[in-house]
Structure formats: structure tokens, C-alpha cells
Amino acid sequence: MPADRKDEILPGTLEMLVLKTLSLGALHGYGIAQHIRQLSKEVLQVEEGSLYPALQRMELKGLVSAEWKLTPTKRRARYYKLTPAGRKQLGVEQSSFARLVEAISSVMQPENQE
């Protein structure tokens, strides 16, 4: 394992991140990984070994759909797109994540103020 490894994505949140990313428009796997890395200021590294199985899983659940399209550079790539079910799921996960963050920070805050 490389020593410069960045923080791992919290288990269970990868799907949410992918959903959020795709809510902005259809993207291929590489694009999704780039997007997450860039928006997290290089903190969140999406491993390919997790990303692709996750995409398959989400496709199976009907949260995303995929089709082969040409990239602007005329390369064939598999583009993933949010389905209505995926959009709904994103809402659910977002609000439960918000609750979780709030809960965690209300636990952590007193210490921080010291």
C-alpha cells in the first residue's frame, strides 16, 4: 500500500457521493472518481476496486442506468446516469447523512470548545 494514501471514504458513503456526482449530469467511471477527488480537494480518493463494483451494485438496484456513448474525444465510454429511483435515494441518503453529521458534531463540539 502506498504510504501517501489519502483518507478512505467512509463506508456506506461512496454510493451517496456517486449519486450526488451523477445528479449534476451523466459521467463515466473515471469522471466520477475525478469529480469526487477534485471537489474534496484531493482528500477523498475513490479506489477503482471499490468504485466499479459499487457502480454495478447501484445499476442492479436500479439507482443508476448506464449506456455506451462517445466522449468529446471520440472515445467509447460507459456513461452512468441517475434514474428517478436514484434521485429519490440521493434525497434519503443526504438527509440521513446530515442527521448523522449533526449528531456526531454535537457529540464532538464540547471538546472542541475547550
Partner: protein
């Protein structure tokens, strides 16, 4: 959260992914390649060299196969898919080793089918209650003698019993008779049961159609009514739904059909129709005699609070008083016994059926031993494969699962085959069952039998399939198994010893079974060869039952018999014809009490009462020992002369000549008014003994009187044909019909004359039946034992390939190699045989109490069977041994 529709959509997506498995894999590969390409481009744009960038990109993506597999897990059906894979693999494995798989499947199928078949028979014949309501309360009633014997109870005595019947809720008396039922095709002789009051309410069985007798009909003056059995209704009345109310013609009576009993209602077993006893109370004199003990039944229903044993005790005290009041009739018959009806019906076949059950248990045991052996052998030889799998990263659970699935597949195949075979076997058993196997028509393969099959398969699979396989291929072997196993001669020493013990056990069990079958065969052949006292070849009989309205009195009956004999005797091809009331080996007969002047009267002094025509001695080729047989003039005007059998002569005059001695016999024809009348007689001849009750029974002492002295109401026409150009049965039947058309129904005219040899053969058919079953089982046992020793020896040879190869290379002769292999293979077989002989001695000692006609342990049988087993074992071990001599030393050495 997920609705059924979504769940369904998911399932569809999964299923489609399954079917497009390869395409999806290719797609994912493309996707990853594209990803790698972009990554590479990005790295190069950051200034990496082309080569470094490609390496870094590949490193980052990592193991593509792993990604494929991880993705796959999400698409596949998880555990189900896993199991399916195991299944495919197991079937592949099974197909790769056809010999092994087939042996396991067939062994299991054999064990299961034999067990399930015999279970079905035991269950339906012995275990289940009879089909009557509260059948466990039904008992047959008998008088019980001082010597432990039983006899039928007379009607007056039964009336005494039922007056003070503690322990019984009801008792009923049944009188049997043959009646002639007039049908459009001609008369048909049917068994009629005259039943005393309350019979049907005692049986608690409701009729299928109509009703049973009402009290008025049961009175002597009641309207004549008849209840039909289901079979008779189907056979002779075409299941006519409007039969109730029809008048039928029975002998001279014309009773009205009032009901039809349901199928399976058959008490007594010969009854085809039932009439009230009241109809014959006035004219059947036998019903008034206390010494009338034939053609009847007495049945009782125990009250709910008692059992057969205590009811017997209560009834015995009643009978004791009866015996004191009538010492001349009851004498030593001072007790009574209530025999559960089921025991009465199936009791006699019980030991034989249990013996079959025992045989099947042995078969099953041998089959199990085979399976254990096979799977142990197999497990050991696959230990290596399992170790490789474990080393390559399969989990222990996966390897175990694979072994279990493999075993299960074979078990299921074996069980399915076994149940199918059992189905055919049960059908065959039913079809070929001798007519007197009780309840044979009830035998079927039902859910209980299936449950037994399932349980058996489960237990066998776990005990003899899964456990040995897992133990032998225990992952504990690890690398050691990978490297070392081969060099040891067939697994560890303990395993080798275990296999030897198992093989030996098979041989001893097979020996027990074979010896049992051998003994039974021997006693069967002895029975076949038994001298019945007369010549059975070319001897034919016809049961004559004259219509009672036409031949009611003795004179007309006698005239009919004489005309019949004369007519048939004059036919070409007929050597002699005669008439007799009861003829051997039919199993029927009527006894008379015999009294000798000056000798104390004993109720044991019975002899068969035979009334015969003048030609009987010649027709039967019966041996005349002393004096003479009856002549024509004896027939015209019978004097006081009687002929006795040698056993009667020996019983009363052991040291003297019986000729001219006096004895008193008693008229025994139940239908004649002078029934029971004493007849003082003189012995004019002594003839050889005949086995009246068949080859399995001792000859019955008999007293012969001229037919004219007491013309029976029915009897047997005996015809001895000439060996060359015998008269055809059809010609005989036509001749009989010419004399009296009402004697034969036209329908059956051709096959009514039966060969005595044929009826003898059918008398032995229950034995033949049991014997052929037992024989089949012993052959199965032999085959299984052979397979066992063959499997173990081949395995040993395969395991010792290297050692044997080296021996060959060092110059060992072929003979020497065969000998080493054979000796190792045969030692367990020999030990097994020896133990089997010991076991047989023990078992035969026990079985002799149960199977009375099994012969004592014959050394010839024992030696023959042991030799047979040894020979089979030798061949089975020799085949692999011969293979050992063909081992190429070079290949053997290279194999390591």
C-alpha cells in the same frame, strides 16, 4: 422499503445479467481499460514518462480480475449461485468417475428399495390395524384344551358363553356353508356366512349400499334377507346400483338383497354373502350339537376396559363350568381363549415376514458398509485434491460444502432410483402374492414408506457419506497430504484396518443371509419331495356342489355321484374315477370321534371321516396294507365294515392285527338329520397314510366308510387320466354337464378340472414366495459383498502402484504380485466368513423357534455357501490383482 415490483425488477436485471454473463464481463473490461487510459493520460500530463505512467495507472487500478469478481458478487445470486456452482462441479466430478458414482448410486438404490419394499409389506400387513372400526377390540374365540391346543366352539357352548360374558361387549357365531348362487350363466358356488344376532353391530361396519339385518329378520321366522360382499357385487352383479331389493336365488331359497358391504369387509375371509343364522336354526342339526367343531367361527368384541388376556381368563372360568356340565363333549377343553383378530388373520405369516424384515436389515447393513467403505476410500484418494484446493485459497467451508454436495447428489440419485424400484417391487409383490397372503391387497407404497425412504437416505448420507468423506479429506492433512499420502500403502494403518473390518463384516452378514436362504430352500425342496401317500401325477379333481333343492336327500345325492363316476369312468383316456367327500391335499376334512370298546373315551381320539366310492383306492393309487378295500357290493349295501389308515391301526392296536377289530365312529355329515349318530363298525382293511393337510403337515389318521353309508352333500370327483392320450378337461367338463347341467357354470367349464400337482404347487406358493424373496435378497447381499471387496482391493492396488512397480522392476514374478494382493484382499473375507458361520449358529438357534419348518443347520449348506462366498470374493479380488501385474514399473515410478 423495496416494493414487490422493485424486487421483481431487480430479479429480472439479475437474471438477465446471469444470461449475459460473458458480455458483461467484456464490458467491464472495456470500461476498466478506458479508465486506465484516462488515468495514464493524466499522469503523463503531470510529466511522467509514458512507461511510468502506464505502470502507475495499472498499479492504481490493481487486480482487474478482483474487480470483476467483486462486481460479480453483486450480480450473482450469492449462496444460491455458489451452490449451483458446487452442483455443476459435483455432477462433473460424478461424471468423471462413473464407476464410483454408479456403484454408490446402485448400492444405495438397492438398500433403499429393499428396505422400503419390505417396510411397506410389514407396515400394511402386520403393523396397521385391520380396517374395521376399533379393530383392536375384535377377537376370535376358541375353546382351549389342556394341552394348549385350540378348537372351534360349538353353537350351544357359545350361547353359554354369551350369557355370562364378562369383558365382552358382544359375541357372535358364524356358520359357514357353500351355497349355489343362480346366475344367468349358470350356478356359482359361493361362501355363505350365517351370522347370529348382532353380528353387524358387533363389527361396527356400515354397509356401502342399503342396510344390514333388522332384528325381525334375525329371528327364525324372519323374512329371508341377504347382504352381499363388495367383491361379489362387483363380480356377479356388475356393481348394479339398484341391487338392493332384488331377489336372488340361493339353492332353494330366494332371499332379498338388502345391502352391500364396503370393500375390504371380509369376515370370515371366505364369506361372500351373509344371511341371518335364524334362517337355518331349525334345520341345521349341527347347530344343536356340542361336539360340532367345524365350519364355523366365533367372534367377540372386547369391552373398552379389558384386553384379550384378561377376557380370556374370564371366559375360561365360564368354559370350566361348561366342561363340568358336559364332560362327554368338553372333556379336556376346560378353557377358552380370545385371539386378537389381527393375530388370527396375519399371525401365521408373521414370523416369515419378520424374517424377511431381518434379511432386509442385513442387506441395508451391507449396503451401508459398502457406502462407508467407498466414501472412505474415495475421501482418502481425494485428500490430495482437497489439499491442492485449500492451498489455492478455497476456504475450508467451500471444500466441505463441495464434498457434501457431491455426496448429496449421489444420495438423491440413489434414493430416487431406490424409491422407483421399490414402487415396481411393491406392485410386483402384490401381483404375485400367493392368494392366501393375508391383506396383500392392502400393500402399497404410501407416504409412510416415502418418509422411511427420506429418513433412511438422510441418515445413511450423513453417517456413511458425509462424515467419512470429510474425515478422510480433513483439511488438517494440509501440505502433508499434498506430498506424502501416496507413499503409504493405502492411507494410514488405522484406515486400512477399518476397511478390512468393514469388508469382513460384509462377508459375515452375506453369509448369514445366504445360509438362511439355503436352509429355506432345502426345507422347501424336502417338502416338494415329500411322499403324500398317493400318486399325484395325472390326477385331476373337480369340486362337486349339487344344488340343494334338487339333491337335498342322501339318496338323490348318492345317485348323482354314482352316475358321475360311471359317466367319467367310461370316457376314453380315463383310467379311473371316484368320489370322495374330502380329498388330500386340500386341507379340508371333517373329524369323527373314535371309540374303542374297553378303552376310556378321550376327546383326542379323532380321525378324519372319509366317505369314498369303490374306485377311490385305485384312483389315488393308495397303498393297501392289510385286508381289503370296499367293493361294489359294499357300495350297494354297506355293512359295518370300515377301512382305517395305518396310523389309526398303530394308535389302537400297536402290537396286534387291526383286521376284524371293533370301533365306534359317529356320523359326521352336518346336513343330515342323523348327524352325530354312533356307528359300531368292524375293520376290514388297513391302508397307507395320506397327508390330508398337505406336505408340511403330518399324515392325518383316517377312517374310511363306503360313500353309500353316508352320502355327503358335496364332494370331490377324482379322475386319474392315462399317461398317454389323456381326456381333455373340456371333454370331462362336458361329460359332467351332461349328467347334471347345474354342476358347472358354462363360463368356467373348461378350467374347472384342476390338476392335483397344480394345487400342490399352489399350496407351496407362500413358501416359494418367501423363498424367492429371500433368495433375491441373498443374491443382492452377495453382489454387494463382491463389490465391497472389489472396491477395496482395487483401491489398495491403486495406492500401492509405486510399491508394486518397484517390485516389478526388481524382478518380482507376476504370480508373486497377484499373491500379495490377493492375500491382503482375501484375509478380511475369510475372517468375515468365519465370523459369519459363528453368527449363523447363533441366529439359526433363535430362528428355529420362529420358523418352525426351517431345517437344522446342515453342514453341507454351510460348506457350500462358504465355498460360494469364498469363490466370489476370490474373483472380486483377483480382477484388481491381475491389474496389478500390468503395472509398468517406469510409469509407476514416474507417477510420484
Amino acid at each position: 422499503m423495496t416494493s414487490p415490483a422493485e424486487l421483481f425488477a431487480t430479479l429480472v436485471r439479475r437474471a438477465s445479467a446471469q444470461t449475459h454473463r460473458h458480455r458483461r464481463a467484456a464490458e467491464l473490461d472495456d470500461e476498466l481499460a478506458f479508465h486506465a487510459e484516462l488515468l495514464e493520460r493524466e499522469l503523463r500530463s503531470r510529466g511522467m514518462s509514458e512507461r511510468d505512467a502506464r505502470d502507475a495507472a495499472h498499479r492504481q487500478i490493481g487486480n482487474r480480475t478482483r474487480i470483476q469478481e467483486d462486481s460479480w458478487d453483486s450480480w450473482s445470486f450469492g449462496a444460491l449461485d455458489d451452490t449451483l456452482r458446487q452442483l455443476r462441479m459435483a455432477i462433473r466430478t460424478a461424471r468423471k468417475s462413473v464407476g464410483y458414482s454408479l456403484t454408490v448410486v446402485l448400492t444405495l438404490a438397492l438398500g433403499i428399495s429393499a428396505t422400503v419394499t419390505i417396510f411397506s409389506v410389514l407396515d400394511h400387513v402386520l403393523m396397521r390395524p385391520l380396517s374395521y372400526p376399533h379393530a383392536d377390540q375384535l377377537v376370535a374365540l376358541y375353546e382351549h384344551g389342556a394341552e394348549g391346543n385350540q378348537r372351534l366352539v360349538s353353537y350351544p357352548t357359545l350361547l353359554d358363553w354369551s350369557k355370562s360374558s364378562a369383558g365382552f361387549s358382544a359375541m357372535s357365531y358364524v356358520r359357514g356353508d357353500n351355497v349355489s348362487l343362480a346366475l344367468p350363466d349358470g350356478p356359482e358356488a359361493v361362501g355363505c356366512a350365517y351370522v347370529s344376532q348382532g353380528f353387524f353391530s358387533l363389527m361396527e361396519t356400515r354397509p356401502e349400499l342399503g342396510r344390514t339385518f333388522v332384528p325381525e329378520e334375525e329371528l327364525q321366522s324372519g323374512a329371508d334377507a341377504v347382504v352381499l360382499s363388495y367383491d361379489l357385487w362387483v363380480k356377479y352383479f356388475n356393481s348394479d346400483p339398484h341391487i338392493v331389493g332384488r331377489v336372488v336365488s340361493l339353492d332353494s331359497a330366494a332371499p332379498t338383497v338388502i345391502g352391500v358391504m364396503p370393500p375390504g369387509f371380509a369376515y370370515p375371509d371366505w364369506a361372500q354373502l351373509w344371511r341371518p343364522l335364524g334362517q337355518i336354526l331349525g334345520r341345521d342339526t349341527a347347530l344343536q350339537h356340542r361336539d360340532h367343531h367345524v365350519d364355523s367361527r366365533a367372534i367377540g368384541r372386547l369391552s373398552a376396559t379389558t384386553n384379550a388376556a384378561s377376557a380370556s381368563r374370564a371366559l375360561s372360568s365360564v368354559q370350566q363350568r361348561v366342561a363340568l356340565s358336559y364332560p362327554e363333549f368338553e372333556g379336556k377343553w376346560t378353557g377358552a381363549v380370545a385371539v386378537p383378530l389381527k393375530t388370527e388373520i396375519v399371525g401365521y405369516i408373521k414370523p416369515a415376514l419378520w424374517a424377511l424384515g431381518g434379511a432386509v436389515a442385513l442387506i441395508l447393513l451391507i449396503a451401508c458398509v459398502n457406502l462407508a467403505n467407498l466414501s472412505a476410500v474415495r475421501g482418502t484418494s481425494r485428500g490430495r485434491e482437497m489439499a491442492v484446493r485449500l492451498a489455492l485459497g478455497a476456504s475450508g467451508a467451500q471444500v466441505s460444502l463441495q464434498l457434501i454436495v457431491e455426496t448429496l447428489i449421489l444420495a438423491l440419485a440413489g434414493a430416487a432410483l431406490g424409491v422407483l424400484a421399490a414402487r415396481s417391487a411393491v406392485a410386483w409383490l402384490r401381483a404375485t402374492a400367493p392368494f392366501d397372503l393375508p391383506r396383500a391387497d392392502e400393500i402399497s407404497l404410501d407416504s409412510r414408506a416415502l418418509l422411511v425412504a427420506v429418513l433412511l437416505t438422510g441418515v445413511i448420507t450423513i453417517l456413511f457419506g458425509v462424515v467419512p468423506a470429510l474425515r478422510a479429506a480433513a483439511p488438517g492433512g494440509g501440505i502433508g497430504t499434498l506430498l506424502g499420502r501416496r507413499s503409504a500403502a493405502g492411507g494410514t494403518r488405522a484406515q486400512t484396518r477399518l476397511r478390512g473390518i468393514l469388508t469382513g463384516a460384509q462377508f459375515s452378514l452375506a453369509l448369514v443371509l445366504l445360509v438362511g436362504a439355503g436352509l429355506l430352500l432345502q426345507s422347501y425342496r424336502r417338502l416338494q419331495a415329500v411322499d403324500l401317500g398317493f400318486d399325484t401325477s395325472n390326477l385331476f379333481t373337480l369340486w362337486i356342489h349339487p344344488p340343494k333343492n334338487k339333491y337335498a336327500d342322501a339318496g338323490s345325492a348318492l345317485d348323482l355321484y354314482s352316475r358321475l363316476v360311471e359317466r367319467v369312468r367310461s370316457m376314453p383316456g380315463v383310467e379311473e374315477a371316484a368320489f370322495v367327500n374330502f380329498m388330500p391335499p386340500g386341507g379340508a376334512g371333517v373329524p369323527t370321534r373314535v371309540e374303542i370298546p374297553g378303552r376310556p373315551v378321550s376327546s383326542d381320539d379323532d380321525a378324519l371321516y372319509v366317505t369314498a366310492s369303490e374306485g377311490y383306492l385305485r384312483a389315488m393309487r393308495l397303498r393297501l396294507a392289510r385286508g381289503r378295500w370296499f367293493t361294489e357290493s359294499d357300495m350297494r349295501s354297506p355293512g359295518d365294515g370300515v377301512v382305517i389308515s395305518e396310523s389309526v391301526a398303530k394308535r389302537y392296536w400297536p402290537d396286534a392285527d387291526a383286521l376284524g377289530k371293533s370301533l365306534t365312529i359317529f356320523r359326521s355329515s352336518q346336513v343330515r338329520p342323523n348327524f352325530g349318530q354312533a356307528v359300531p363298525s368292524t375293520v376290514i382293511g388297513v391302508v397307507g397314510d395320506m397327508r390330508q393337510y398337505g406336505p408340511a403337515n403330518e399324515p392325518a389318521p383316517a377312517v374310511y366308510v363306503p360313500m353309500s353309508a353316508e352320502p355327503w352333500a358335496w364332494g370331490t370327483l377324482v379322475v386319474r387320466k392315462r399317461a398317454i392320450g389323456p381326456a381333455t378337461n373340456l371333454a370331462l367338463a362336458t361329460a359332467v354337464q351332461e349328467v347334471e347341467p347345474a354342476l358347472l357354470s358354462r363360463q368356467h367349464a373348461a378350467d374347472d378340472f384342476g390338476a392335483v400337482t397344480k394345487s400342490l404347487s399352489s399350496m407351496l406358493s407362500p413358501r416359494r414366495y418367501i423363498l424367492s424373496l429371500l433368495g433375491a435378497f441373498s443374491i443382492c447381499a452377495l453382489a454387494l459383498a463382491a463389490v465391497g471387496i472389489y472396491g477395496v482391493t482395487s483401491y489398495a492396488v491403486a495406492q500401492r502402484t509405486q510399491e508394486l512397480g518397484i517390485r516389478r522392476a526388481l524382478g518380482a514374478a507376476e504370480g508373486e504380485i497377484v499373491r500379495t494382493v490377493l492375500v491382503r484382499g482375501m484375509v478380511p473375507a475369510l475372517a468375515g466368513c468365519a465370523i459369519g458361520v459363528g453368527l449363523t449358529f447363533l441366529i439359526v438357534r433363535y430362528v428355529k423357534h420362529v420358523l418352525t419348518d426351517i431345517s437344522a443347520l446342515d453342514p453341507m449348506v454351510l460348506i457350500t455357501i462358504s465355498a460360494l462366498l469364498f469363490a466370489v470374493g476370490l474373483v472380486a479380488a483377483w480382477l484388481p490383482a491381475r491389474r496389478a501385474t500390468r503395472i509398468d514399473p517406469l510409469i509407476a515410478l514416474r507417477a510420484e
